[in-house]
């Protein structure tokens, strides 16, 4: 295209709009073509729905203890049976979707932006600050994630909020690493040089021109991590270091049913299946999102 061609503003806006629409349309086609991704997305949409209308779906109060009804087998009255305190397991699993979603979303909302900011800053500023921040992330990466999360959860004291903080602390370094790598690859590009020569401040370049370039890889990484985040939260709950009774958290429910495993298998196993399905959904969706956002995949 001829550089001297002058495009008036409305024309530019129209073209940009068209390009975006085409991008979305192609994404939709890629999404439809990937059957596993459709399955994964459906699972997650289903989870969102269940969490949203939990009070309508639940047949009982998830906290109400009816001791004479303890450890009942699954029946039309109690779809998944009852636990050792006579609470309806089905209703608790339904309400548990809220706990799981809350943890996963908050961890994502804390650790990804934190990692993104640190990574872009470190990569763009460089020098001693970069060195310090990256050694710091090395130290965090030197611990297995689950162990670090457990250690922080234990230190902060059990509870859902602390579990969220603990998992976020264990998660941010990988996003920082990724954002830094992306930043290094674009920071000396011509377009950045041009903006810099036009007098844009460092902050403006980082926020407006580098961060958007890192977003897609962070999103891909985050969507692949969602399953692990949920597994970690469930593991913390199971060990007694995450959500505390009587919160209907799935990992905690699996742990509660351990002593009744032989004769009342449903108490432990059914909440576990809920974890399995949701994590599977996130993993399938994550794989699909990676394919959709991957430019190589798009060309074919």
């Amino acid at each position: 295209m001829n550089i001297t061609t002058v495009i008036d503003k409305s024309e530019a806006r129209r073209r940009r709009w068209e390009a975006r629409r085409r991008y979305l349309k192609e994404s939709y086609i890629l999404w439809r073509r990937n059957r596993l991704m459709v399955v994964g997305t459906s699972i997650i949409v289903f989870l969102l729905l269940v969490a949203a209308i939990a009070p309508l779906l639940a047949t009982h109060d998830p906290y109400e203890q009816i001791l004479p009804d303890r450890l009942l087998a699954p029946s039309p009255d109690h779809y998944f049976g009852t636990d050792s305190l006579g609470r309806d397991i089905y209703s608790r699993v339904v309400y548990g979707s809220r706990v799981t979603l809350t943890i996963a979303c908050l961890v994502a909302a804390i650790s990804a932006p934190l990692g993104l900011v640190i990574g872009v800053f470190s990569g763009y500023i460089g020098g001693a600050i970069d060195e310090i921040l990256m050694r710091l992330s090395d130290v965090f990466l030197a611990f297995p994630k689950l162990i670090l999360a457990i250690a922080f959860a234990a230190a902060l004291g059990p509870g859902v909020e602390n579990a969220i903080v603990a998992i976020s602390v264990a998660n941010w370094p990988s996003y920082a690493r990724l954002a830094r790598a992306e930043t290094l690859s674009v920071r000396n590009n011509d377009y950045i040089q041009v903006i810099r020569s036009m007098g844009a401040s460092k902050l403006r370049i980082m926020v407006g021109h580098i961060t958007p370039m890192c977003l897609s890889s962070i999103i891909v990484r985050l969507s692949l991590d969602m399953g692990t985040i949920i597994l970690t939260a469930a593991g913390l709950g199971f060990l007694g270091l995450g959500a505390q009774p009587p919160v209907p958290e799935w990992g905690l429910m699996v742990s509660d049913g351990r002593q009744f495993l032989v004769d009342q298998w449903w108490v432990s196993t059914l909440p576990g299946i809920a974890i399995l399905i949701v994590v599977m959904g996130f993993n399938l969706m994550g794989d699909g999102i990676r394919d959709i956002l991957d430019p190589h995949q798009r060309q074919s």
Binding site: A142, A155, T269, L284
Partner: protein, 337 residues
């Protein structure tokens, strides 16, 4: 190469110092007063004060940190409040059980994962490919603690094929401790009854961790095998009339396994981490269970010591993986230096 190794060792030392700082920080933020739990709720104030001076909790933070570093450099991890023994002794006792479990699990995931990855790459989109992908998906999506419970329920409680949780039948006497690895110690002592029993005990927990591990391995072998199989030199090998088996093993697999090495190393680290949950379920007397109970009771010295050891192991494994990778793929050291 030597320069590369030295530089990696140097960063490892920095990381280790960082690990010490982080574990110290963890021990600082604990809100519960560990002294109250040692002394008991009824202890008079002066006893608590005496304990505070004894453990040095009355000193300023930087002095506490200095003492802490000094102790660590002398390999003194302090005494566990829970067992009343030096943490180092506890770790020496429990660690081999974890190594044994993680190693057997890794062996399971390698001998199942690599062939599965090759087969699904060679027979792309066949039944076996789909099977292996579903298995991988389940492997990464399954909560290990749940799988452990389900396997126990089916194979121990219902079918009785495998023995109760634990490392050895209580009626059997452990052989003399040489390596701490029960399977090897019993072979050295030529005690085949113990060996067989220990083997039966390890199958279930190792399968749980093994399934987790094989998912990643099968995946990476499949994708790198697909990459390699589309290369020109594979075509050349086929055109010159080499039989398919040799093409796959001698030409394709060798290169396809290079990326797998990294994943296998990372898997080993993941297995160490998964052992916390698995050991808790299978009453496996390893470091994972020791750590889990230390975390629950806020046994500070044990928490700090155990976490540090796991982080050290994890870093060493990562270092080894990098070195092996650099050895297999000389491009790495060239670009790095």
């Amino acid at each position: 190469m030597l320069q590369y190794i030295l530089r990696r060792l140097f960063t490892l030392i920095i990381t280790l110092v960082g690990i010490m700082v982080v574990t110290f920080f963890i021990s600082l933020v604990v809100p519960l007063d560990p002294l109250a739990s040692i002394a008991g709720p009824q202890a008079p104030q002066e006893t608590v004060e005496r304990l505070r001076t004894l453990y040095g909790f009355d000193q300023p933070i930087y002095i506490q940190f200095g003492r802490y570093m000094q102790r660590l450099l002398h390999a003194d991890l302090g005494t566990s409040f829970q067992t009343g023994r030096p943490v180092l002794d506890d770790i020496i006792q429990y660690f081999p059980a974890t190594i044994e479990l993680a190693t057997i699990s890794l062996i399971i995931s390698i001998i199942v994962g690599i062939p599965l990855g090759i087969l699904s790459a060679v027979h792309r989109n066949s039944v076996i490919d789909h099977f292996s992908r579903v298995l991988s998906l389940i492997g990464v999506s399954m909560p290990v603690f749940w799988l452990g419970l389900v396997l126990l329920l089916i194979f121990y409680f219902k079918l009785g094929w495998f023995p109760e949780p634990g490392r050895l039948d209580i009626m059997l006497i452990e052989p003399e401790r040489i390596t701490g690895l029960l399977l090897i110690d019993s072979l050295i002592a030529l005690d085949f009854e113990v060996f067989w029993d220990a083997l039966k005990h390890i199958v279930l927990p190792a399968s749980v961790l093994g399934l987790y591990g094989l998912a990643g391995i099968a995946r990476i072998v499949r994708s790198s095998m697909l990459d390699v199989l589309s290369q020109e030199y594979i075509k050349t090998a086929r055109i010159k009339g080499l039989n398919e088996f040799l093409v796959l093993t001698r030409h394709a697999l060798r290169n396809a396994l290079v990326p797998a090495v990294t994943v296998i190393g990372l898997t080993y680290g993941g297995l160490l981490e998964g052992s916390v949950l698995t050991e808790t379920i299978f009453s496996w007397p390893g470091l994972g269970r020791y750590l889990a109970s230390a975390f629950l009771t806020l046994d500070l010295n044990a928490v700090v010591g155990g976490t540090m050891l796991v982080a050290l192991m994890f870093s060493l494994v990562n270092l080894m993986v990098d070195l092996i990778y650099a050895f297999l793929n000389p491009q790495i050291t060239l670009t790095a230096s």
